[in-house]
């Protein structure tokens, strides 16, 4: 993974001191509430319903065991001993004290971490595929490009006060695991006919109140032009994005208002001035950054032999077999696999882990995955590059730590925002809904029979729980001061991204779980062969689901 040099380190150290001074001046009454707001937001600090919340950046979801131990230590020292993993692959502390945040940031800087631009109207953490570097279907490792974007976007002089937040994702594989079409800029790594790397650039995607799938604005951008082209997009957005109404301020509104073709023309016109300028990448820099993402020291393994061994262990241990099926993924290096540690056991808010679990994750990474940890936008943890012959040992250690729930990709592996329990924006609670669903669907055989199913829950229309792109989406709404829930169907975040459709009138919390069960019944009754929930829905349409859920009680 990327290692800071003296310049990277100095920058985060100076950022800590800058924010320490700002916090002190705020506490001394020298900075108004209004002026302090963007300063603290751009250092990750929200003020929420119960307490401040600090969002820590995990650039493109990659961490070292040393960093994970530091997070565990920070959560013990400054917080309540647990943290939350977010859908932007970041980490949130739920109970920090405003006065102590500079000290927390200093602790982070000591392990090459920061909270820079994790909120506010600026360029946020760039995200990517949690299986980068090991995926079978990879065109090129997206992480060096993410790091190049991270450096370019960090404390960018021109784009710290954008109309609204700005999110970039990079996809380097055939299958999309980064939901890149639902970002302000989606970057797809492609190769041209000569085998040269470039980028297919999309713009104007996003969730929130007005979900939009991004539009293609340039099919092939040669790699050396990445930063000048991004500068051009951001400058057009900074100058012409709507600033009068925060709900109309995302770039998606501008792209739609101008049409993608006109937006692309404006970007090209701006880029003409910047193209081949000094910010143009050179081979030395690309190679320098790539050199940090080299393959670990893989052993040469007889794949067939270890597979046979695994098969025999799986036959012997039913629970291990389930975990292998759901939580372990093949990777392109023979003899190795990627393991997803589930952060979604029943009874725990999705994405929450304790300090002790973090220490365990760090230990597991040191022993099994070259000390590297990846966070996922589904709010789980991935350990890549695990020897297949060590999977059983890993499972045995992960299980007592509560990290081996075999539910990845199932209905119980839901994405869920913090909701009304924590967030002051939320209309409704989301964590209790997630828990009720997990409690209801606790029969593993039934859950496995349902197969791949993405269920996403947001506590309000800001869509932090990505309800628009769940196969089943649940949205908390406010009806005369009461918490109600709207159900949506048919969303998808892959390359054929689709936005979910509203099923019908919203339901009380008591009715949500029963309605989910009815939806699943309709699926099971109508599916053909191995058809997934999403495919069945796409084939038979929404009506049958609607009829069942809203049928009068007999």
């Amino acid at each position: 993974m990327y290692i800071y040099d003296q310049y990277d380190q100095k920058l985060v150290d100076e950022r800590v001191e800058q924010y320490r001074d700002q916090t002190q001046r705020y506490l001394d009454g020298q900075i108004s509430e209004e002026a302090f707001l963007p300063l603290r937001l751009q250092n990750g600090l929200y003020v929420q319903r119960l307490a401040p919340m600090l969002r820590i950046a995990v650039p493109y979801g990659l961490m070292s065991s040393r960093q994970v131990r530091k997070i565990a230590n920070i959560s013990r020292t400054f917080d309540k001993g647990y943290v939350h993993f977010t859908t932007r692959q970041n980490i949130q502390l739920n109970w920090p004290v405003l006065e102590e945040v500079p000290d927390i940031l200093a602790e982070l800087a000591s392990v090459e971490m920061h909270a820079i631009q994790t909120s506010g109207n600026c360029i946020r953490n760039t995200t990517t595929d949690q299986f980068a570097g090991v995926a079978n279907d990879e065109i090129e490792d997206p992480r060096p490009w993410c790091e190049i974007i991270r450096q370019w976007s960090t404390i960018h002089p021109e784009f710290a006060f954008l109309p609204r937040k700005f999110k970039i994702a990079v996809c380097g594989s055939e299958e999309d695991r980064a939901a890149f079409l639902l970002h302000d800029i989606g970057i797809q790594i492609v190769k041209n006919d000569n085998g040269e790397t470039g980028f297919h650039i999309y713009a104007g995607g996003g969730l929130g109140r007005t979900p939009v799938i991004a539009s293609s604005i340039r099919e092939f951008l040669p790699k050396e032009h990445l930063l000048t082209y991004l500068d051009a997009i951001l400058r057009v957005y900074n100058r012409f994005g709507n600033r009068d109404n925060k709900y109309k301020a995302r770039i998606k509104i501008l792209v739609r208002a101008w049409t993608p073709a006109v937006f692309a023309e404006r970007v090209e016109a701006e880029w003409e001035h910047l193209k081949n300028g000094p910010a143009t990448l050179n081979g030395d820099e690309i190679e320098r950054v790539k050199s940090f993402f080299t393959a670990p020291d893989y052993q040469s393994i007889d794949d067939a032999f270890v597979d046979a061994q695994l098969q025999s262990l799986a036959t012997e241990h039913k629970a291990f077999s389930r975990w292998l099926d759901r939580n372990v993924r093949a990777q392109k290096q023979a003899g190795y696999a990627s393991v997803t540690l589930s952060l979604k056991p029943a009874g725990v808010a999705p994405g929450d882990v304790t300090d002790r679990q973090l220490d365990t994750i760090a230990d597991l990474a040191d022993r099994f995955s070259f000390g590297e940890i990846r966070t996922t936008h589904n709010q789980n943890i991935v350990l890549a590059d695990v020897l297949k012959s060590e999977l059983f040992a890993l499972w045995q250690l992960a299980k007592p730590a509560g990290l081996a729930t075999p539910n990845i990709g199932t209905i119980n592996d839901m994405i869920c925002c913090p909701g009304g329990d924590y967030c002051s924006l939320a209309n409704a609670k989301s964590i209790p809904v997630a828990e009720a669903i997990q409690r209801k669907f606790d029969d593993l055989d039934y859950v496995y029979d349902l197969g791949d199913l993405e269920l996403n829950i947001s506590g309000c229309m800001n869509a932090c729980g990505h309800h628009h792109i769940g196969h089943i989406g649940i949205l908390g709404v406010d009806k005369k001061g009461e918490e109600w829930y709207q159900i949506q169907l048919g969303g998808s975040a892959n390359k054929n991204a689709a936005l979910a459709k509203v099923l019908g009138r919203s339901l009380s919390r008591d009715a949500v779980v029963d309605s989910i069960e009815k939806l699943l019944d309709v699926y099971v009754e109508n599916r053909l062969d191995q058809e997934s929930f999403l495919n069945t829905y796409q084939r038979i349409g929404i009506e049958k689901f609607k009829e069942r859920v809203y049928a009068p009680a007999s």
Binding site: I31, L39, I155, E158, A160, N238, D284
Partner: protein
């Protein structure tokens, strides 16, 4: 038409130094020109260019951050000051405007940030080509000037450093 952003405070920061402010800021309705150095709205400058060349004091222009540089850049090459007004400090359009004036049009005079700016923006503003800062209220300018030095280096290309870090130091 433009709102007059604020009275010119007695002092402002220029090139890192606190200096007395000799400039008078004029709004949209100009009946007669006062003596001395004046900042006039850019539209007024464009419409009264001839008359203003005969003014006894210096004449600079001011614009709002959202005004389109393409529409006035041709007329202001010789003015000694372009003041960019920030109606709200979170409106970042003035940052792009300053860069465009410096990098695209090669403007070498003073670019002053004025209006609702905060000292914590100074480092970024300086990178975008601002070299003068006029706050809406009387503040401790010497203390504020420390924010110009919040960081010792930066990754990106900007007006103050036309080469990216990766080409200079890596």
């Amino acid at each position: 038409m433009h709102q007059l952003p604020n009275e010119c405070p007695k002092q402002y920061l220029k090139d890192g130094v606190v200096i007395d402010n000799q400039w008078q800021l004029l709004g949209a309705d100009i009946d007669s020109l006062p003596a001395g150095d004046i900042l006039v709205p850019v539209a007024y400058w464009q419409a009264n260019h001839q008359q203003l060349t005969e003014h006894s004091g210096k004449v600079g222009v001011w614009v709002d951050g959202h005004e389109q540089v393409e529409e006035f850049a041709g007329s202001i090459a010789t003015v000694p000051v372009i003041a960019i007004n920030f109606p709200k400090f979170v409106d970042g359009r003035g940052f792009s405007l300053a860069r465009l004036l410096r990098e695209r049009y090669g403007y070498i005079g003073e670019i002053r940030a004025m209006g609702d700016i905060i000292r914590d923006q100074l480092f970024l503003m300086q990178r975008c080509g601002f070299n003068a800062f006029q706050f809406a209220s009387e503040i401790d300018l010497a203390a504020a000037s420390k924010s110009l030095n919040d960081f010792s280096d930066s990754y990106q290309v900007a007006v103050d450093q036309p080469e990216p870090l990766f080409k200079r130091l890596r």
